[in-house]
């Protein structure tokens, strides 16, 4: 989630960004960078790719500020840009490189180093990430937005440009698919 500053809302900052006010744009970046970066890490599995894509996401925000519609929906809008960029990169690469996250460089839960989290827990996490990576693109996106980014179905629908029923179906299929995939993983020697 972004750190909301109640004094200046996102729509106002976007209007100021469109007017060329760099400080407003910087506030937006500072406010939403963690959310965007986490989403992209969860989508791509790579900190480096995610950081590059997150920067590009904000470049697009800057570029399209003049055409942003002030409806109080900055978060779905910016995550949609991020998702589109991740999808484009995935297509270009033909295959997402879903590598186990390097927790040292990843800076996740920096107060609890990888060693403390336990090797077994990390191995489990890697298996789960790999299974998520094998999901179809839209199922993965819907699941990540809902389960990892904490979005309600209505927000996921807005972000993905689909219906509530569509989101429900995508997440149901994603979860059922993961269940089967992980069960097969358990059966592997």
């Amino acid at each position: 989630m972004g750190q909301q500053r109640p004094d200046i809302d996102d729509d106002t900052l976007m209007a100021r960004t469109a007017a060329g006010e760099e400080a407003a744009f910087r506030l937006l970046v500072d406010r939403w960078q963690h959310d965007v970066l986490a989403f992209l890490i969860n989508m791509t599995g790579s900190r480096d790719d995610a950081e590059d894509l997150a920067q590009e996401t904000f470049v697009r925000v800057f570029r399209q500020a003049g055409r942003y519609r002030a409806e109080g929906k900055f978060r779905p809008w910016v995550l949609r840009i991020a998702a589109n960029l991740a999808r484009s990169r995935g297509r270009r690469a033909r295959l997402l490189k879903w590598l186990p996250l390097d927790t040292e460089r990843h800076d996740v839960a920096s107060n609890t180093p990888a060693a403390d989290r336990g090797i077994e827990a990390e191995q489990t996490a890697q298996v789960v990430r790999a299974a998520i990576a094998r999901l179809p693109e839209r199922q993965r996106q819907a699941l990540v937005l809902h389960r990892f980014q904490g979005m309600r179905y209505t927000e996921v629908a807005e972000t993905m440009g689909t219906s509530l029923a569509g989101v429900e179906s995508l997440i149901q299929r994603a979860l059922a698919g993961l269940r089967v995939d992980l069960a097969q993983e358990d059966e592997r020697p």
């Binding site: 970046v29 997150a54 990892f148």
Partner: protein, 165 residues
């Protein structure tokens, strides 16, 4: 008895309204198959938490990178900050100027543009657009206008060159 497996993920995520949630609960109490599937999905749902990277766990300072990328686009920002009509006019004017300068310099050289020069302006425009990071959404369909103008110019030049052969 209608099974509820299609609603289990929404139920886990707390996305069902009270009426539908009650319907699912009542069914699970009576249906062994759905109840077992619900337990398996619950386990999957829970294990996902081990793989999540929450926003609060990321350390990020993207500003310097973003600023560097946007500063490089200041000129483009000036251009894209214009209205669609103004951008189209600028594009036409720039292209027209380029054509005029090209013809003028060709005349000064004493010969028309070399017949054996296979350079194709429309191809060049295509390469430029391919390399550009400006997408159609950002450029407001400007790329199509560029290509169309390049094709028109090219066909005119081809017609002109054909007359000198």
């Amino acid at each position: 008895m209608k099974h509820v497996t299609g609603m289990l993920a929404a139920h886990l995520g707390g996305e069902l309204d009270p009426a539908r949630a009650g319907e699912v609960e009542a069914h699970l109490a009576a249906c062994e198959g759905c109840c077992a599937e619900a337990a398996r999905l619950r386990a999957t749902w829970d294990i996902l938490a081990t793989a999540a990277v929450p926003p609060t766990a990321t350390r990020a300072d993207l500003w310097s990178g973003v600023q560097a990328r946007t500063t490089g686009q200041a000129a483009a920002g000036w251009f894209f900050g214009r209205s669609a009509t103004a951008r189209a006019s600028l594009a036409v004017a720039t292209l027209a100027l380029g054509v005029l300068v090209g013809r003028w310099t060709g005349t000064l050289g004493g010969t028309a543009v070399a017949d054996d020069d296979n350079t194709d302006d429309s191809s060049l425009a295509g390469v430029w657009l391919q390399d550009s990071t400006w997408d159609d959404q950002a450029s407001g369909g400007l790329s199509d206008s560029w290509l169309a103008l390049a094709e028109v110019t090219d066909s005119r030049q081809s017609a002109g060159n054909g007359g000198t052969k």
